[in-house]
């Protein structure tokens, strides 16, 4: 068994596609119409194009909004990405207008920061010290 896909629940797939590719810099891998407005929409890291795909999953189910709102109110990132330099990524993303709820913070073994993906989620970026 292998983990090939993980998901984020996004308020709007078109907006998510823009944010995850143009702002975060991921590359679109699959984009398949599923009928209705929903798409099977995945992105991958340009540093690992054969790696785990991130599925930008529509958050249409009524249980999703209260779940996401409660996490965001408490500042909880449900999804995390690894970066080589949290401070540099923070400055790059802030320059692109991304809102951070937690600036880069030295947490001992790791440095982390948390930002809003504009699609209803908080995302943590993390660098693990050697």
């Amino acid at each position: 068994m292998r983990i090939t896909i993980t998901s984020v629940l996004v308020d709007n797939q078109a907006k998510a596609e823009k944010f995850y590719t143009e702002v975060l810099g991921f590359v679109k891998r699959h984009d398949i119409a599923l009928g209705g407005e929903a798409r099977w929409l995945t992105v991958v890291s340009p540093e690992d194009e054969g790696g785990t795909e991130l599925l930008l999953e529509p958050s249409g189910h009524p249980a999703v909004k209260p779940f996401k709102d409660a996490l965001v109110a408490d500042g909880i990132p449900f999804t995390q990405f690894s970066v080589d330099d949290v401070q540099a990524e923070y400055e790059r993303l802030r320059g692109l207008g991304v809102r951070f709820t937690q600036e880069p913070t030295d947490m001992g073994n790791v440095t982390t920061a948390v930002f809003d993906d504009t699609c209803g989620n908080l995302i943590q970026i993390i660098h693990q010290k050697s």
């Binding site: 965001v72 109110a73 500042g75 909880i76 937690q102 600036e103 913070t105 947490m107 073994n109 982390t112």
Partner: protein, 99 residues
């Protein structure tokens, strides 16, 4: 005397080491989400309290006036407020009798 009650709340709030650590971390950076406070306590101080427990500690600090919460858009941030400590300074430190 309400003032006495308020000072009592402040001392009660400060009596707990986890709550003092929360204030230390808010002094390091003011305006943190519950998630950031929990992450700092766990990663920097090895305090393995549950999110619910930290939330209750924050309620005690807020009731004593030492922490204020503000909603900014969809997020809630916690800020330290040292104003309740001032009467303590006034009462004993500023009016210390001459020796």
């Amino acid at each position: 005397m309400p003032i006495v009650a308020v000072v009592g709340d402040v001392f009660k709030a400060l009596a707990d080491p986890t709550r003092r650590t929360i204030l230390d971390e808010l002094t390091d950076r003011n305006g943190q989400t519950l998630f950031e406070i929990c992450a700092r306590l766990s990663n920097k101080h090895g305090l393995a309290s549950s999110r619910q427990a930290i939330s209750q500690h924050l309620d005690v600090l807020e009731a004593a006036g030492l922490v204020q919460t503000r909603r900014e858009g969809r997020y809630k941030f916690h800020y330290i407020d040292t104003a309740p400590l001032e009467p303590i300074v006034e009462r004993w430190l500023s009016r210390r009798g001459r020796t």
